[in-house]
Amino acid sequence: MMISAYEKDVSWQAGVWAIVIHLLLLAALLLSFNWKAPQPLLNVAEVELWDSLPQSLPPLQVASPVETLPPVEVKEAPPHPPEKVEGQVLKTPEVDIALEKKRKELEQKKATEQLKKELGLEQKKQLAALQAEARKEEMQNSDKLLKEKKANETLKTMQQEALAEERAATQQAVATDKLAKSAASAGVVDEYRSKIQTKIRGNVNKSLCATASPELKFDIALLPTGEMTGLPKLLKSSGNKACDEAVERAIMASQPLPVPTDGLAFSQFKNLKLTFRPND
């Protein structure tokens, strides 16, 4: 605004100071308002699900205290009785009998311990074998998963080719948009966009969309949880009302939709324009 002549010599300095103050405010906001809440993962108990050896594990755990605790008692016990015995050797032969009994008991205990140990070893061997089997199964499962992933990836590439035009349009929008300057966030946006489309595609009743390659456009408003804040708006109809309704039902059925957890990337999904081709 108006700066009179007598203020001109200080105005530059004052402007610099004002900018410095605002940069300080920005820094303070960025530092203190970084709401990185402690990840709830720390409180969540992790559970592993095992298909095999549900019964072989508990005996081992039960057996181990039995194995470890008694020997200590047994080893401490012998030194005491002999002392008493030496003083009373002639008087009471019954003590010998008692001693013999104790020895027999000890031997029996040792035998049972050995048996138990052997049993434990066998159990351990069984366990190892079972674990090896489990690992093999896991390996096989992971192979299957890998194959599925590869299949999914090929599917994705197919879809990406099909969506090349729309991609170009979104990239233009992104380029004009201040929000998504970084290429990384654009990649995340595309990734989740294709995730959303595959999820909806799974729920579409394709028999209702008989024509060659109908194209629909929907406007969807999303919450951070992946739910919609209203009904999807049809921007471009396929020309077939039944097909439009089928796709709309599919969108409703596939809630919650996959959305990025990152707040900055999610801001692109608040109002999502989705182009959809059910027959591709």
Binding site: G15, L30, L223, G226, M228, T261
Partner: protein, 226 residues
């Protein structure tokens, strides 16, 4: 996945995620804040300069030297005199000019000098008062602008939730946090403006009292002289 939603909120993502009216409000508030801080620093420098120059001039004036010499030393500097010196200059110039004319009565000469000093005084006060109305209106209005942005943002946040059966805190919280940023920026603009306005207004008042008392005293001295 849904557990960690909205845990990561930086101020940047809040601003970027806000709706267009809220972003406009934020832009307006940041601009007014920049201007008000600019004026605050300008006024700080100007008022400080006026106070120190008044100090200097009073010391020179009451040192008891010849007024003609003082007037010459002020006029010798090429730059325009400011503050108390300019009042003295205007009054003394008129006094000298009219005192040389024999027809003028003493009271008339005094009246002329007084008018000249009054005019210079008003000019000085006008300079000192500049930008203070802007600071006052920023201090009183910018909280309301921020509040408008907040209300708009919260309205949007709740309207979006109207179709959701069970609204959880994690769905409501980001919208409200976004909206509250507008209030925060509004307060950030308002608080310094109010403080600066009050401080500058009292400094200008004290300076004006100082100028006025100098005018009275200088009139007395001139009357004695003639």
């Amino acid at each position: 996945m849904t557990v960690s939603v909205a845990n990561d909120m930086s101020i940047f993502s809040l601003v970027v995620g806000a709706s267009l009216p809220v972003q406009l409000v934020l832009v307006v508030l940041i601009l007014t804040s920049l201007f008000s801080w600019w004026y605050i620093f300008i006024k700080l420098a100007i008022i400080k300069r006026a106070e120190s120059s008044a100090e200097e001039f009073e010391a020179a004036f009451w040192a008891g030297g010849d007024l003609d010499k003082l007037f010459d030393s002020l006029g010798s500097g090429l730059r325009k005199t400011q503050g108390m010196a300019s009042i003295f200059e205007a009054g003394f110039k008129e006094y000298v000019r009219h005192n040389q004319q024999p027809r003028m009565d003493v009271s008339d000469v005094m009246e002329v000098a007084r008018r000249a000093m009054r005019a210079a005084y008003n000019r000085e006060l006008d300079n000192l008062d500049s930008h203070l109305p802007f600071l006052a209106s920023v201090g009183s209005v910018s909280p309301y602008i921020g509040l408008f942005g907040t209300v708009w943002g919260i309205m949007n946040a709740f309207r979006g939730l109207s179709n959701v059966a069970q609204a959880t805190l994690s769905q409501v919280a980001p919208g409200i946090a976004e909206a509250l940023v507008a209030t925060a920026i509004g307060l950030f603009a308002a608080i310094p403006a109010v403080i600066a306005y009050n401080r500058f207004a009292s400094s200008v008042d004290r300076l004006s009292v100082r100028y006025e008392s100098f005018m009275e005293e200088f009139t007395n001295i001139l009357q004695r002289k003639s």
